[in-house]
């Protein structure tokens, strides 16, 4: 088991988050769920090197321990993620993850899209498997961010988020779905507190975002 725990720990350190489309990664996920001793061993190994195993809504990954994070001043973090990327990340988190969180709180079927059940009742439609995962149409993202950024800029921002596995998308204009990092690297409670705090304070005009538009576009 030690060998398996070491292999999983290294895999997590190497890839950051487990890919839902990778059968090997999903096997790792199943193993962690099924074997508590293995899970503990992996946690221990990761903790030894300053990382913490996280899982949320079925997505698994690692994030740096808060203590290590605060101690590691000056190290590169986030790389190319800037304010406008973070704005889109938070916006997508509200659309794709927070909606599921709220559904789970109401003890509803988390993946059920609006009207799916009614449509099935009315027309006997078979549910589309793609409907199982919440998504936001690229046109909707463009309509929201296109006021400040060009279409090329919006595609570029999505590309960066794709690279860091925050979102998944088929092609540059396909529907945007939540990537595993959006579940693992975003603390749901802290993010809810943060977003609600912004809403309470009231948001001003997008002055700075408009300034960034020229850089991105």
């Amino acid at each position: 088991m030690d060998e398996r725990a070491a292999a999983i720990a290294h895999l997590l350190l190497r890839v950051g988050v487990l890919d839902p489309d990778d059968p090997d990664h999903q096997q790792v996920r199943q193993d962690l769920i099924a074997d508590s001793a293995l899970l503990a061993a992996v946690r221990e190994r990761l903790a030894a090197v300053g990382w913490r195993l996280e899982q949320f809504l079925g997505h698994w990954g690692v994030r740096v321990d808060r203590g290590v994070e605060s101690a590691a001043v000056g190290l590169p973090r986030g790389g190319d993620l800037q304010a406008h990327h973070l704005r889109m990340l938070i916006w997508l988190w509200v659309q794709l993850v927070y909606r599921q969180v709220e559904a789970a709180r109401r003890e509803e079927e988390p993946d059920a899209l609006p009207g799916r059940r009614q449509r099935a009742l009315d027309f006997g439609d078979e549910p589309d498997p793609r409907d199982e995962t919440p998504s936001v149409a690229f046109e909707e993202v463009l309509a929201e961010f296109g006021q400040q950024y060009s279409e090329r800029g919006v595609k570029g921002m999505l590309s960066v988020l794709r690279k860091h596995r925050f979102v998944r998308q088929e092609g540059a204009t396909g529907p945007v779905r939540a990537g595993p990092a959006l579940f693992v690297l975003v603390d749901p409670l802290r993010m809810e507190e943060h977003v609600v705090g912004i809403a309470r304070r009231g948001a001003g005009p997008l002055v700075t975002a408009a300034q960034d538009a020229a850089e991105v576009g």
Binding site: A6, A7, L13, D22, G78, E102, Q118, R119, V196
Partner: protein, 464 residues
């Protein structure tokens, strides 16, 4: 439809003035010998003539005057009391003063406004009030499909009242309209996005259908006596049921969608409001999500231990399984650097080296066959022939032998008696000559005369 007596009284003076002209003109329009009393429907039509003067006055030849006249009438119909010209101006400041005076004069001449001479004030005439309310209630604006549904129902109601023979055609129109709305409702429910659902829901189909149903109930008893008409009413009811079912579906979907998108359990903010807040937040507020720990940005591995090293060494199996093994750099092999040997590039030098090697271990007087060293030096038949050619050239140019670093080698060719081989089979003869050492097989193919090199004990001849 009968008008109140006081309304009729208001237009009587005008009607009397025009009565003679009307009777004279009507007789001109009728066929000879036909009196107005014998024209069917004329009396009913003449009942509408009381508003003819009002209509002529309202619908001017210029497009802009009619709506402005209606605006003035709406203002005066809503307000209390009588209106002087100054009061009318104060109520309609958006209309140019001279044009407003012209409008008031026109409305007065057309019978819309009554003038009291005592104080020179106006009010809307009773017939004008009634005609104005009829025009407004007709609701000619808004020709959307839902409104058209009500229009169709009203047409059936009034059409049945006016023309008893028009029910079939009018019900057909109502049926077509109802079925069109039903089809659109089903299509919207099937493929519509939430915005389309909201838009469709806002046309208040349910209210429209209740109105249609009310009209149909009123007409049903009469139409039950006519099977064809009753069948159409049944079909209209069926289409209405389809619309109601679709509308119920739309409402359920919208309610479900609202529940999911417009409510948040803890904070009391809708998701839309939260998204708007994020879009409106400053860069500092957005970046503070990282500082607060809400977002952990992707990090490189900041720690490395023997555990990691062991882990890495053990996980090559996973990498190999997914065909994602890391590239391992290998330094290219160093080229061999040696001094240039002339025999590698010069055939003559190569021959000389071969002969030197041959003569080194050769005792004076001894001989060696060419087969021995050609096999060692030539790689193929062409190479062997080339070496032999060079050897023959050296032999031809030398007088007493080939001098190789002081050792003289004399080529000699073993002789064979041709007469002794005359009757032999060529193949056997060649094989016999090869066994005797006269012929030698060279690499690749072919047989040549074996050349022997014999070391001469003494001599100083040149090799050319």
């Amino acid at each position: 439809m009968s008008l109140p007596r006081d309304m009729i009284r208001g237009v009587e003076p005008v009607a009397r003035v025009e009565e003679d002209d009307y009777g004279h003109e009507l007789r001109e329009w009728l066929a000879p010998g036909v009196s107005p009393e014998h024209v069917d429907g004329l009396e009913e039509a003449e009942g509408i003539l009381v508003v003819a003067r009002l209509a002529r006055s309202l619908f001017s030849t210029t497009g802009a005057a009619t709506p402005l006249k209606l605006v003035v009438l709406f203002q005066m119909a809503r307000a209390e009391g009588r209106f002087s010209r100054e009061r009318i101006r104060s109520l309609n400041r958006s209309i140019a003063a001279d044009r407003l005076d012209a409008i008031v004069t026109s409305l007065h001449d057309g019978g819309w406004l009554e003038l009291r001479d005592v104080d020179r004030t106006y009010r809307v005439s009773p017939l004008g009030h009634y005609f104005l309310s009829v025009l407004r209630a007709a609701g000619f604006a808004g020709q959307g499909s839902a409104n058209l549904l009500i229009r169709a129902a009203e047409t059936v109601r009034f059409g049945a009242a006016v023309d008893a023979g028009s029910e079939t055609r009018l019900l057909g129109l109502l049926l077509a309209q109802t079925e069109a709305v039903a089809e659109r409702a089903s299509e919207t429910l099937r493929v519509g996005q939430h915005r389309e659902l909201i838009r469709f829901s806002r046309v208040e189909v349910r209210t429209q259908l209740e109105h249609v149903e009310e009209v149909l109930k009123a007409l049903e008893e009469r139409f039950q006596q006519t099977p064809a008409l009753f069948e159409r009413i049944v079909r209209i009811h069926e289409a209405m049921q389809t619309i109601l079912r679709a509308h119920k579906g739309l409402q359920d979907r919208l309610a479900e969608w609202n529940l999911k998108t417009l409510e948040t359990a803890g904070a009391g903010y809708s998701l839309t409001a939260l998204c708007d807040a994020v879009m409106g937040a400053s860069d500092g507020e957005v970046l503070s999500a990282v500082a607060s720990g809400a977002v952990a940005l992707p990090w490189p591995v900041v720690a490395f231990s023997t555990e990691v090293a062991i882990t890495r060494s053990l996980t090559s199996r996973i990498a190999a399984r997914t065909a994602r093994e890391a590239f391992v750099y290998e330094a290219p092999s160093e080229p061999r650097v040696e001094a240039l040997r002339l025999e590698d590039v010069d055939p003559v030098a190569r021959l000389r080296a071969a002969l030197r090697g041959l003569s080194k271990d050769l005792a004076p007087g001894d001989a060696v066959t060419s087969s021995a060293w050609i096999d060692a030096q030539a790689s193929d038949f062409a190479d062997a022939v080339f070496l032999l050619n060079l050897l023959a050239r050296l032999e031809g140019q030398s007088r007493g032998g080939i001098d190789v670093d002081g050792v003289v080698l004399a080529p000699e060719t073993p002789a064979a008696d041709p007469e002794a081989w005359r009757d032999l089979d060529p193949e056997e003869a060649i094989e016999a000559l090869r066994r005797l050492g006269v012929l030698a097989r060279v690499p690749g193919k072919g047989i040549h005369t074996d050349v022997r090199l014999r070391r001469i004990a003494e001599g100083g001849c040149t090799d050319g």
